[in-house]
C-alpha cells in the first residue's frame, strides 16, 4: 500500500469526513485513518429497520456486560445503553481513560468508521457573533482569533451540503442559515412558543435545527440521500441517508473523486515530527489487530480524532523539540477542557389540547436559545445557558411495573391519553478554565501501549450560579408559557456534576492569536508546526451553549480550504 499522501486525516467522524471531502474534491491524494472498524453505510450494523420487538434482547444489553464492568460511562448515561446502537459506542473497559476519583469525567466515544457522526444529536446550530466575542469580553480563556463573520460563509457552505431543516427565526443569538423545510411544532410547543413571544422580546421557543433532510437537494439525492421519514432512529444508522453522517454524505463525496484512501483499524500513536524541516512528517499507527506499528507520510496532517482523542495523540507525539507533545511550545496543549453542563430539568403540563394528538417521531427537539450573553442585573455569573426542550407527543399513561397493580384494571390504565407535558433541559456554558486539563497518565497504558488520557476537569462556581438562575428562569418562562403543574429540579449545589455528561467535550488545543497562550491560529493551524492542523472540538477556545458539531464542520471546511491553498503554493 502507498504510504505517502498529500494529506493525512486522523479520524473519520464529523470533521474527518469533512476534511476528506474538501481535500479530495480539490484533487489531493488523501488518507483517512480510523482507529475503529469499518462500518458500511446501509450495512448489517444498521439497526434502523428493527421494530422494538425485533431488537436484540428487546433492547436490553446482556447483563454480563454490566456485571463485568463494561460500558461504565454509557450505563451511567442510561438512555444510550441499549442494544439498538450499543455497538456504535466505546466500551471503556476495553478502552480505558483516567480521571481523579473525586472528579469523574464521562467520555462518550465511537470507535468505528464515521465515529460519532453516526450517533450525534443532529442539532445543527450556528454560534452567534457574541459567542466568538465572549472570551475577549469577559476575560475568561483565550480570545478567539476568528469572528462570526469569518465563519459565516463556511456555515452556509456546510449547511447547504449536509441539509439542515430549520426555521428562519431572525435571532441575533442564533443566526439563520441555509435551511430546508423546518419540522413542525406540536400543539403544545406552539402554544408555549406563542405565549413566551407575548411576554419576552429576548427569549424564544423555536423548533430545533436538524441535520435531517426534509427537502433534499440534487447534490444530496445524487449521493443516495433521501428525505427523513420521521423515525428518530438516527443513531442506529440511517438507511435513508437522511441523517447526516460521514457514511451518508462526506465520505461518499470524497470517494467519488478517486482521491480517497481509508484505512481502518489503525490507531494513530503519534504525529511524527521532522526536526530539520520543522514540519510534521506524517503519523505512526498501531494496527488494532496485529499491534504492529507502521508509518504513513504526508505533506499535511489534519487532526480530527475528537477533542480528547486528538489531545491524547498530540501529547503522545514527543520529540526533541517538543518533549511535552507536538505543537506544545506554549504548554497549553491539554488545557481549557470545555463542555456543556445541565443542572436543571423542568417539566410542566400544557393546558388544553385534549382533542389534539401527534403522529410520527420527529428527529429533533425544540429549543430555547441562550438569552443571557451579557451580565444582567439579576445575574451573578457570566455567559449563559439555553434549554433543549420538547413536547412532541401528548403523554399517555405508561405501563409501570414499578408500582402495585396487575390484571385487568392495571392494563386498562395503560395508554390512556394524558395531558401534553413539556420538558426542558438546561444547557449551560462551562467557562474555559486553565486548570481543566487533560494529560497523559504517567504509568497506565491501554492494550496497544498508548498512555491513558487523564482528564482532570470540573465545573466551578460560575456554573453553579448559572444552574440556580436557570431554575428560576425556566419556572418563570413556563408560567409565562401558560403551563401548569410546573416541576423544576435543580442539581443541589453540593452534588457533583460530572463534566462530559452532555458529550460535547471541547478544547485542549485552543485557537488563539498569541503562540505563547494557544496551540492553534485562527485557521486551526498549529503555531509551532505549520503543516499540522486541528479542526475537531479540540480547537475550540470556548464552548458557548449551542451544540457544537456545525461549528466544527465549518471550521474544518474553512481550514481545509486554507491548507489547500498553502499546499498548492508549496508553502507547506
Amino acid at each position: 500500500m502507498n504510504k505517502e499522501y498529500d494529506v493525512i486525516i486522523v479520524g473519520s467522524g464529523i470533521t474527518g469526513g469533512w476534511a476528506a471531502k474538501e481535500f479530495c474534491e480539490r484533487g489531493f491524494n488523501t488518507l483517512v485513518l480510523e482507529r475503529g472498524r469499518n462500518v458500511e453505510h446501509r450495512g448489517p450494523e444498521y439497526k434502523d429497520f428493527q421494530a422494538p420487538w425485533e431488537l436484540q434482547n428487546r433492547g436490553m444489553p446482556d447483563e454480563e456486560l454490566a456485571d463485568n464492568g463494561h460500558y461504565a460511562t454509557l450505563r451511567k448515561k442510561g438512555h444510550l445503553y441499549k442494544t439498538d446502537a450499543l455497538h456504535f459506542f466505546v466500551d471503556d473497559k476495553k478502552h480505558p481513560y483516567s480521571f481523579p476519583k473525586d472528579k469523574p469525567f464521562m467520555w462518550t466515544r465511537g470507535y468505528q468508521l464515521g465515529g460519532r457522526s453516526l450517533t450525534w444529536g443532529r442539532q445543527a446550530l450556528r454560534w452567534s457573533p457574541m459567542d466568538f466575542q465572549a472570551n475577549a469580553n469577559d476575560g475568561h480563556g483565550i480570545p478567539w482569533p476568528i469572528s462570526y463573520d469569518d465563519l459565516a460563509p463556511w456555515y452556509s457552505y456546510v449547511e447547504k451540503f449536509i441539509g439542515v431543516s430549520a426555521n428562519k427565526d431572525g435571532l441575533e443569538t442564533l443566526p439563520d442559515g441555509e435551511f430546508q423545510t423546518p419540522w413542525e411544532m406540536s400543539y403544545a410547543e406552539q402554544y408555549i412558543s406563542n405565549n413566551i413571544a407575548k411576554r419576552y422580546t429576548d427569549r424564544h421557543l423555536i423548533i430545533g435545527r436538524a441535520a435531517n433532510l426534509t427537502s433534499p437537494s440534487q447534490e444530496q439525492t445524487a449521493l443516495g440521500r433521501s428525505k427523513c421519514q420521521a423515525r428518530s432512529y438516527c443513531r442506529r444508522g440511517c438507511t435513508f441517508g437522511a441523517y447526516f453522517s460521514s457514511q451518508s454524505a462526506t465520505l461518499p463525496a470524497a470517494q467519488k473523486t478517486g482521491n480517497l484512501t481509508v484505512v481502518t483499524d489503525a490507531i494513530v500513536e503519534r504525529v511524527d515530527y521532522d526536526e530539520s524541516s520543522k514540519k510534521a512528517l506524517g503519523v505512526t499507527v498501531i494496527d488494532t489487530n496485529t499491534k504492529e506499528r507502521r508509518q504513513y507520510k504526508s505533506r499535511v496532517v489534519f487532526m480530527c480524532a475528537s477533542s480528547l482523542g486528538t489531545v491524547q495523540v498530540l501529547l503522545n507525539s514527543k520529540s526533541e523539540t517538543f518533549p511535552n507533545g507536538i505543537a506544545n511550545a506554549s504548554g497549553m496543549l491539554g488545557r481549557y477542557i470545555l463542555g456543556h453542563v445541565t443542572g436543571v430539568v423542568a417539566s410542566a403540563d400544557v393546558p388544553g389540547g385534549e382533542d389534539k394528538f401527534a403522529f410520527g417521531r420527529r428527529p429533533i427537539a425544540t429549543y430555547i436559545p441562550n438569552y443571557r450573553h451579557e451580565k444582567r442585573a439579576d445575574a451573578d455569573f457570566v455567559r449563559g445557558f439555553g434549554f433543549q426542550t420538547t413536547a412532541q407527543h401528548r403523554s399517555s399513561t405508561r405501563p409501570t411495573a414499578k408500582e402495585k397493580g396487575i390484571g385487568i384494571i392495571a392494563k386498562q390504565n395503560v395508554g390512556q391519553p394524558g395531558p401534553w407535558r413539556f420538558r426542558a433541559f438546561m444547557y449551560g456554558e462551562v467557562l474555559p478554565y486553565y486548570d481543566n486539563v487533560a494529560t497523559l497518565h504517567p504509568s497506565k497504558k491501554d492494550e496497544w501501549g498508548m498512555p491513558l488520557l487523564h482528564i482532570d476537569a470540573e465545573i466551578k462556581e460560575n456554573e453553579r450560579k448559572m444552574i440556580k438562575q436557570a431554575a428560576k428562569d425556566i419556572e418563570e418562562m413556563l408560567e409565562a408559557g401558560g403551563c401548569t403543574n410546573i416541576e423544576v429540579a435543580a442539581t443541589p449545589q453540593s452534588k457533583h456534576i460530572p463534566m462530559g455528561k452532555q458529550v460535547h467535550e471541547m478544547g485542549g488545543a485552543c485557537m488563539g492569536s498569541d503562540p505563547n497562550t494557544s496551540v492553534l491560529n485562527g485557521w486551526g493551524q498549529a503555531h509551532d508546526v505549520p503543516n499540522l492542523f486541528v479542526t475537531d472540538g479540540a480547537c475550540m477556545a470556548s464552548c458557548a451553549t449551542q451544540n457544537p458539531s456545525l461549528t466544527y464542520m465549518a471550521i474544518t471546511a474553512r481550514a481545509a480550504d486554507y491548507a489547500s491553498k498553502l499546499l498548492q503554493r508549496n508553502i507547506i
Partner: protein, 186 residues
C-alpha cells in the same frame, strides 16, 4: 445472542399441545400446562411463568401476555440476556413462590382455581411494594418488570407502531390520527 426462533416456536407448541389434565379439571383451573422443558425454564417453571404473565396482563379486548408470547420470550431472554445471578434469582423465586402459595392456600399453586391464583398473585404484588423489602419481593418486582417490558414492547401490544412513519404531524384531531392509523401511512 438473538432470540432463537426455533426454540421460541417450539415453546409455543408446548402450550398448544398441553393436555395432561382432564378436560373438566382444565376448565376449572384454566391453566396452560407445559409438558416439556423450554430453553431455560423447566416445564413446571414455564407453566408458572406463563400463568404469572397472564394474570399480570390478561387478554381482554386487547392482546394480553399470552398473545404476545411473553413467557416464551422471557424464557429465551434468560438464556440470551440474563446473568447467572439473575438466572439463580429467578429460579429461586419461582420455587419460593410455589412454596409460599402452598403455605398460604394449603394446596399446590397449580391445583388452585384461576380466581385463587389471581388472588394469590395480587397478594404477592401488594406485598412486594410495601416498605419491607426482601429477596422474594425484589425478585418478584424484577420478574414483573420484565414481563411488562416484554409485553409492552411486543408487536401485539403496539398495533399502531409505525417503523417508517413518513413524517411528523403535531396537531392532529383524534379522527385525523385514527385515519392515519387505519390507512397505515401519513
Amino acid at each position: 445472542m438473538e432470540i432463537n426462533r426455533r426454540i421460541f416456536l417450539g415453546a409455543m407448541l408446548y402450550v398448544v399441545s398441553a393436555s395432561v389434565l382432564p378436560s373438566e379439571l382444565k376448565k376449572v383451573l384454566k391453566l396452560n400446562v407445559f409438558k416439556s422443558d423450554a430453553a431455560f425454564f423447566n416445564a413446571d417453571q414455564m407453566t408458572l411463568v406463563y400463568d404469572l404473565a397472564n394474570i399480570m396482563i390478561p387478554t381482554t379486548n386487547t392482546p394480553g401476555a399470552s398473545d404476545s408470547h411473553t413467557a416464551q420470550v422471557l424464557d429465551e431472554l434468560m438464556v440470551s440476556w440474563a446473568s447467572s445471578s439473575t438466572q439463580r434469582q429467578f429460579t429461586n423465586f419461582l420455587a419460593q413462590f410455589q412454596s409460599k402459595a402452598k403455605g398460604a392456600n394449603n394446596s399446590n399453586y397449580f391445583s388452585l382455581t384461576k380466581k385463587e391464583r389471581e388472588a394469590f398473585v395480587e397478594y404477592v404484588d401488594g406485598n412486594a411494594f410495601e416498605k419491607n423489602r426482601n429477596e422474594f419481593s425484589t425478585a418478584y418486582k424484577r420478574i414483573k418488570a420484565l414481563i411488562f417490558h416484554i409485553h409492552y414492547s411486543s408487536e401485539e401490544a403496539n398495533p399502531n407502531f409505525f417503523l417508517v412513519p413518513g413524517g411528523y404531524k403535531g396537531n392532529l384531531t383524534e379522527s385525523e390520527l385514527s385515519a392515519i392509523h387505519k390507512r397505515k401511512y401519513l
